[in-house]
């Protein structure tokens, strides 16, 4: 799929918004990754700023706590010279207050160009995209998608492996509640990777195999010969839902140890979207080991988000000219 490109390479994204990987073609994903490579170069300069988004306003609207994603977006926006506005709203206090749509429309009355939205409800970005003029970038919606995370993961994989197609990627952990999983599965299968997902059967989304992945509860089978091992965070409160008995047992059955890593290819890389629970889903020796690219993922996040903003803004110019 990725190898044969009958259409000329696109130079912009078709959609106005980035709601999910589901809406992107393989060619568009590659366009984002190639653009991110160019953006990466900016971070090496003494003055890490270009005027691409000068005069544009970006609202970072976060209804869930986030350090990594929010700061990564903010750095990306600033490096592109955009004016940024951070709005953090504690979800617990909005139950009786303003609706999501009203909050967004009020912010929009100040004429931003982009709204970067993080929200606990799946589909929140789709809802806003139907009522807002601004371009919506999904920074994580419920258990649905986290498209910029999947793009930065793909960028990191490509940096190390030179390709995505044909790689064996094992994704291990809480599959059910993970938006990182869904975006990564969509992206990696579109680019022709062989994707294995692994977790306790209590945490496997029913029907997930229809997305073209291999499903197993055996870590060794998932890791065997893998080029990439991607660990997902285990939320500590999941024990309450009887998804698994204890963190201790979880680590015994699913934790990524050096011994398990040895089943993968010798040049395998270990990834984690953060925040990590050391000693739960991943042993410290693995997280800090030579094959770990966890901090590179964070670095690459900035370039990938710059690329997304830049490409979507290109669409703005295009429409203004038309």
């Amino acid at each position: 799929m990725a190898g044969q490109t009958p259409n000329p390479a696109p130079t912009r994204l078709k959609q106005r918004h980035l709601l999910g990987i589901a809406d992107l073609s393989a060619e568009e994903i590659l366009l984002v990754l190639d653009t991110a490579a160019a953006m990466q170069e900016i971070a090496q300069r003494p003055i890490k700023k270009v005027p691409a988004l000068r005069g544009r306003t970006v609202v970072n609207l976060f209804f869930e706590p986030s350090t990594r994603t929010r700061t990564s977006f903010e750095v990306a926006e600033k490096r592109l010279s955009a004016d940024t506005l951070n709005v953090a709203i504690a979800t617990s206090s909005v139950v009786k207050g303003e609706t999501l749509i009203d909050t967004a429309l009020n912010l929009e009355a100040m004429s931003p160009d982009f709204i970067v939205l993080r929200h606990s409800a799946s589909g929140a970005c789709h809802l806003l995209s139907r009522v807002c003029r601004s371009r919506i970038i999904n920074a994580g919606d419920g258990m649905h998608e986290h498209p910029t995370q999947a793009l930065l993961d793909a960028f990191t994989i490509r940096q190390h492996k030179g390709r995505i197609e044909g790689l064996k990627v094992a994704i291990i952990g809480d599959l059910l509640h993970s938006r990182v999983l869904r975006s990564n599965v969509l992206l990696l299968t579109k680019l022709g990777a062989e994707v294995w997902v692994c977790g306790p059967p209590t945490l496997v989304p029913p029907g997930i195999e229809r997305l073209g992945v291999h499903v197993t509860a055996k870590v060794d089978e998932a890791v065997e010969g893998a080029d990439v091992i991607m660990m997902l965070r285990i939320q500590l409160e999941r024990m309450q839902g009887a998804f698994f008995p204890s963190l201790r047992e979880y680590f015994q059955v699913f934790g990524m140890t050096e011994e398990r890593v040895r089943r993968a290819r010798p040049d395998a890389i270990i990834m984690h979207p953060g925040p990590m629970n050391r000693g739960v889903e991943i042993a410290s020796e693995v997280a800090d080991g030579p094959y770990s690219v966890i901090l590179e993922q964070v670095t690459n996040g900035v370039a990938v988000r710059m690329a997304v903003l830049y490409l979507l803004a290109g669409g703005v110019e295009h429409e203004a000219a038309a």
Binding site: T99, L100, I101, H119, S120, A121, S122, G123, A124, H126, L127, D141, G142, M143, H144, E145, R179, R182, P205, P206, G207, I208, R210, L211, G241
Partner: protein, 439 residues
Amino acid sequence: MKRLLKGGRLVDPAAGVDGEFDLLIDGDRVARVGRNLPVEDGVQVVEVPRGFVVVPGLIDMHVHLREPGQEHKETVATGTRSAVAGGFTAVACMPNTTPVNDNASITELILRRAAEADLARVYPIGAVSRGSNGELLADIGELHRAGCVAISDDGKPVATALLMRRALEYASMFDMPVIDHCEDPSLKGDGVAHEGYYASALGLRGLPAAAETVMVQRDVTLAGLTGGHFHLAHMSTAGALRAIRDGKAQGFAVTCEVAPHHFVLTDAQLESPIQYDTNCKMNPPLRSQEHVDAMIEGIADGSVDVIATDHAPHHADEKKQEFDRAPFGIVGLETCVPLVLDRLVHRGHISLARAVELLSVNPARILRRSGGTLKEGSVADITVLAPDVEVTIRAEALFSKSKNTPFDGWTLRGAAAATIVGGRTVHVNPAVSGAEKLA
């Protein structure tokens, strides 16, 4: 006053009638049914247009009229207006109002409002438990005396097996069914969509089919134990259908209903045409294809007794939210007849006579009401159908106060042309040409 409905096909399965018959209405009663009845002096003659079908008044035994307490969604007046517009001459309304219909004063209020509106007949359903809290029984005898026709804690399941047992036993002395919304609360959790591929792909928390099935199995077993009448509300799963068939095979008093959206739509609707469309959020949720196929099979083979809409009006503001936060439910009174005719009758799954059984004969029997037939002497509650007229559903044109329907813009073949309650025409459908003759 006497009116003679002349010509047209008359379908009255309870009387074994299906053919060209005239029908004479005298006051609020059916006076005569026969071929080429003579036109006596002083009789108003109504020529029934060719292609129209006269059937006993349709009864929707599962609606939410929202009054008292949630009048911004619907009132008894707007809900019964919607009912007659949809071809229903009677509705049974669920007790999950605010406050809950668990005592005679609420029942009386509903009946008074219905008399003021003077459109469709309203049969209130009382609560099983006080406040529908699942603990103490409501004053079921008082509810019965005030006019309730059944008991239910709808919106919630009857909380425990013991309470269900007691309710079945106690209600049997009033010859009332216990209607249960079957859903195991622990399996349901905080789910919002049918557990399966689409919920997984969209990141929506799942409502497993098994949550319904396990409680239907419980209730069928208890119907057997007690001899009481268990009626399953809004059945949606193949497993529940198997349990109902099993109960019927054993001779238990079990009956069930299916809502139109559960034989028309699947959970694929969550993904397209509108992703996360909150008008596709209802409970039970839209299920996967195998469950939809099972519902159609059960309707066709006689296992299903009733089609009922679960008419659940919600204000636009409530639905225009994140999928997680929007309330469950859709309006159904004005879309039911077109969906049944188009999707079940015209597609050859059932005959028109069977549709009348599902929409009139059986609900009357289950609720122990008159109606369900047009035999001489019976009450003149009549629906005139135009099975071959195409109609397009327009949400904004619905008579219901709420417009939350996933069928907006659908063109369907078949409609209710006119609705006659107690001999009086209370609605003619302006979208059906010729219907005005029935005014």
